[in-house]
């Protein structure tokens, strides 16, 4: 029985990791007042870059770093369009999603002789046990024998919390997302804050994407991300734009994503088709957002382009 519990926990942590990273990325962007529906595309480009660069360099750490850089580069057009040119942030984000998928699938085909997926990545990130702690029953193997990306995700949550609520940077970020004009009259550079936030969201979503292709999985194809960017967005809202709330929500969705796998452990698939289990995270996303959160109140200025000195 304990084995089953350990297994459930381990699977949950495994699948929650990319969601946490991307959702915290989304948190930075939305807290600054920029909707980032492009998380899906940023994860896609991260997953693609992570796999390809690891295949080329045989070093998953360089792959991870490259994924982060690629995420930042792909977030840049979203920042330029929605901040400098005041375009509709949702449309710009959707464009990022299509662009990322198109570019990565095309490049995979041209790099690997028309294949629909990359070759298998052999040198993926591997589980990194923390000596001593990993011997704790049940939670040890799940939490302290995890992929490096998991430790990274948890660290990111903690850092984000302190950054957001304890530092001038965080306070300005939140102010810019709530009432940009007030922030500007207090001498805060609204544009700069928003640019930084959107680029951070690119970095974190890129890292989350890499987690899918060089930690959990070991290849990239066009279903690698499969909506997890949108699930991250749901986790962000479900977690009420709060780092620890997002951690909890992403873990919940990680559990849902892992359920198909967990279902097999229980032998659940003999009663429920695995396809139905696979649908579960998406159904839960809708349910969570529609009913159980109540009124989700995001940053007041989210989605609204800011204009200086407008009349």
């Amino acid at each position: 029985m304990l084995d089953v519990l350990t297994n459930i926990l381990q699977t949950t942590v495994l699948y929650a990791t990319p969601l946490i990273l991307a959702a915290i990325g989304g948190l930075f962007s939305e807290r600054s007042g920029v909707v980032n529906i492009g998380l899906e595309g940023l994860m896609t480009i991260g997953a693609f870059t992570g796999a390809v660069v690891t295949l080329a360099t045989h070093n998953p750490w360089i792959g991870l770093l490259a994924a982060i850089v690629a995420g930042i580069l792909f977030a840049l057009p979203h920042a330029v369009a929605s901040i400098t040119f005041k375009a509709d942030q949702v449309v710009s984000g959707v464009a990022i999603n299509f662009l990322a998928l198109g570019v990565s699938v095309y490049l995979v085909k041209s790099l690997y002789d028309g294949a629909a997926q990359t070759p298998t990545v052999k040198e993926t990130l591997t589980r990194l046990p923390i000596p001593g702690l990993d011997q704790i029953p049940v939670i040890g193997p799940a939490l302290f024998n995890a992929f490096p990306t998991t430790y990274l995700a948890i660290l990111v949550v903690i850092i984000t919390y302190f950054l957001l609520y304890r530092t001038p940077f965080g306070m300005r970020l939140r102010a810019v997302g709530e009432h940009p004009r007030a922030a500007e009259t207090m001498g805060v550079n609204v544009f700069r804050m928003r640019y930084i936030a959107v680029l951070i969201s690119g970095a974190l979503a890129g890292a989350g994407g890499a987690g899918l292709s060089i930690a959990i999985g070991s290849e990239f194809n066009q279903t690698t991300v499969a909506g997890q960017g949108f699930i991250s967005l749901a986790a962000l809202i479900f977690g009420k734009w709060n780092p620890f709330g997002v951690l909890g929500a992403a873990t919940f969705f990680g559990f849902a994503v892992g359920l198909a796998l967990i279902g097999q452990i229980f032998g659940l698939t003999t009663y429920i088709p695995s396809e139905v289990l696979n649908m579960l995270p998406y159904i839960l996303t809708i349910l969570a957002l529609a009913g159980f959160v109540g009124r989700a109140e995001g940053p007041a200025a989210v989605g609204k382009p800011y204009e200086t000195g407008g009349r």
Partner: protein, 507 residues
């Protein structure tokens, strides 16, 4: 010594010259009023001084030095602070966080919250501002929010303080408090520029006044040599009468009758509790009362915007209780709503489109499912002219108009439909004397045409001047009726505070 000098400031926006060679000279340690009608260019001038806009022409001298103010940061460095008309406060933040934003004290990389709170408390005490440094903005009163705005300037060491129409959002008590604070500030060596169109306030606290009209400098005068009438005519450019001229009412049949009305507010708490009211054709009935005694909900219930829990509302002897708003409108009710931005206008529609919000589906504005824009435009042109709505043209978005002109637009729309009952909720809130005079005249005109007018205002003066009968509302019931001609302030005040009955003048 002149601490601020603005010389020949000109600033144009597309289609309008907001400031046309304006001069402003402010002496150190005085309260200097900047007086002008809505849309005269006061806010533009101050936004230039605060660095939010760049002037097209003109010079700015601060403390004897010519400067170019490129942004709010620069204004701050020069010691200029501004309390904006629409508060610049981050709602979910605490008072302290709002004050230190952009200028955060740091200790070892973290924000020094305790130190900041201590300093805020200290400044707050020194000027008698009484704010709680830990309270969240969304939880505190408008008056306290404004004091937070003042603290923001003081925290940054500002000594030239701009107040942009600070009293528009305050209750009478809060206004008196603010006047006291302004006097404290000047005693501590600050200089204040006070933007307003309220003459009483200028007479009460200001030393000097600069008058501007339609973007042009008119005059700079000492307040002690002035009176309200002279200031008013300088501001508007003609004689203004404060008195409302009207003959005795000749009321006829009952138009509106309300019996035992019960209405709840948005939280489900009963705020109108068994209210009876009658308004007859050819009279203005005023509702006086302290804010929050059910007046808003009462009017919304009549207009069909809020559900009636119990009781009956009749218009011309047929029931309209809980009808849809369109139905009630078509039956002959006009409504000048209390909140013109939320309920009176679709701000992003043009002023022309706003003129047909209730009639767009009727002939001649629509034929089948097709809007007849030429008809709509013709109609809007006529209303804009008749009601003196000052707008570049009818295709201007309602948002771009000044408050007074937005309100004139609403009044034009509501009155031109010729409703049997006109509900006017705070029809002159935030408007200048010229616009107030205009609106008052129109309301009396409506009465003289034999229509019923139900007026609600929080300004007791206004209710007393305009109404033929006054109902004092207290805790959702009519506490008593008074005759505005014969009653005294004391009697009405007593009723408003829930005291015993007034004289029955329910002829």
């Amino acid at each position: 010594m002149n601490i601020v000098e603005m010389k020949g400031i000109t600033k144009s926006f597309p289609g309008i010259v907001a400031n046309d060679r304006i001069h402003l000279e402010v002496k150190e340690g005085e309260i200097h009023a900047l007086l002008g009608e809505n849309g005269a260019g006061k806010s533009t001038l101050m936004n230039i001084l605060f660095g939010l806009y760049q002037p097209d022409e003109g010079e700015i001298w601060i403390k004897g030095k010519q400067v170019q103010i490129t942004g709010p940061n620069m204004a701050g460095e020069l010691g200029i602070g501004m309390v904006h008309q629409h508060f610049m406060l981050v709602e979910p933040f605490t008072v302290t966080e709002n004050i230190i934003l952009g200028n955060e004290p740091v200790k070892g990389g973290w924000i020094d919250r305790d130190g900041a709170e201590r300093e805020v408390r200290e400044i707050s005490d020194r000027y008698g501002l009484r704010v709680d440094p830990r309270a969240r903005i969304q939880d505190i009163s408008v008056g306290m929010q404004q004091r937070v705005e003042i603290l923001k300037m003081l925290y940054r060491g500002a000594d030239i303080l701009i107040f942009d129409e600070p009293t528009a959002v305050l209750s009478p008590q809060e206004i008196q408090e603010l006047m006291g604070i302004m006097n404290n500030l000047v005693e501590e060596g600050k200089t204040i520029i006070f933007i307003t169109h309220k003459l009483k306030e200028i007479m009460q606290v200001c030393d000097t006044v600069t008058v501007i009209r339609r973007g042009k400098f008119i005059d700079r005068v000492k307040v002690e040599e002035m009176d309200e009438n002279r200031l008013a005519s300088m501001m508007v450019g003609r004689e203004v009468s404060f008195a409302v001229e009207k003959e005795a009412a000749k009321p006829k049949e009952t138009v509106l009758s309300i019996e035992g009305l019960h209405v709840t507010d948005s939280r489900g708490v009963g705020v109108v509790n068994g209210l009876d009211l009658e308004v007859r054709a050819g009279e203005i009935v005023g509702i006086a009362g302290v804010d929050g005694n059910g007046q808003t909900e009462l009017l919304e219930a009549i207009a069909g915007l809020r559900k009636v829990q119990k009781g009956k509302i009749q218009l011309n002897n047929s029931e309209i209780t809980n009808q849809r708003p369109r139905e009630i409108t078509e039956r002959g009710v006009g409504h000048i709503p209390e909140d013109r931005h939320r309920r009176g206008l679709v701000l992003d529609f043009t002023i022309g489109e706003n003129m047909v919000l209730q009639t767009y589906y009727q002939s001649p504005f629509a034929r089948g499912i097709h809007l007849q824009y030429d008809q709509i435009h013709q109609y809007a042109e006529r209303l804009v002219k008749e009601f003196d709505v000052r707008t570049p043209d009818i295709h201007t978005p309602a948002r771009a108009l000044s408050g007074g002109n937005q309100q004139k637009g609403i009044i034009a729309r509501e009155m031109d439909r010729n409703p049997d009952l006109l509900i006017a909720a705070q029809p002159t809130r935030g408007l200048d004397v010229g616009a107030i005079e205009f609106i008052h005249k129109r309301l009396v005109e409506q009465r003289d045409k034999g229509k019923a007018v139900l007026l609600m205002s929080l300004e007791l003066d206004e209710v007393m001047k305009l109404s033929d009968r006054v109902a004092v509302i207290y805790e959702g019931k009519i506490a008593g009726w008074v005759n505005p001609q014969t009653t005294t302030q004391e009697e009405v005040g007593l009723l408003m505070a829930g005291g015993s009955t007034g004289t029955e003048v329910k002829h």
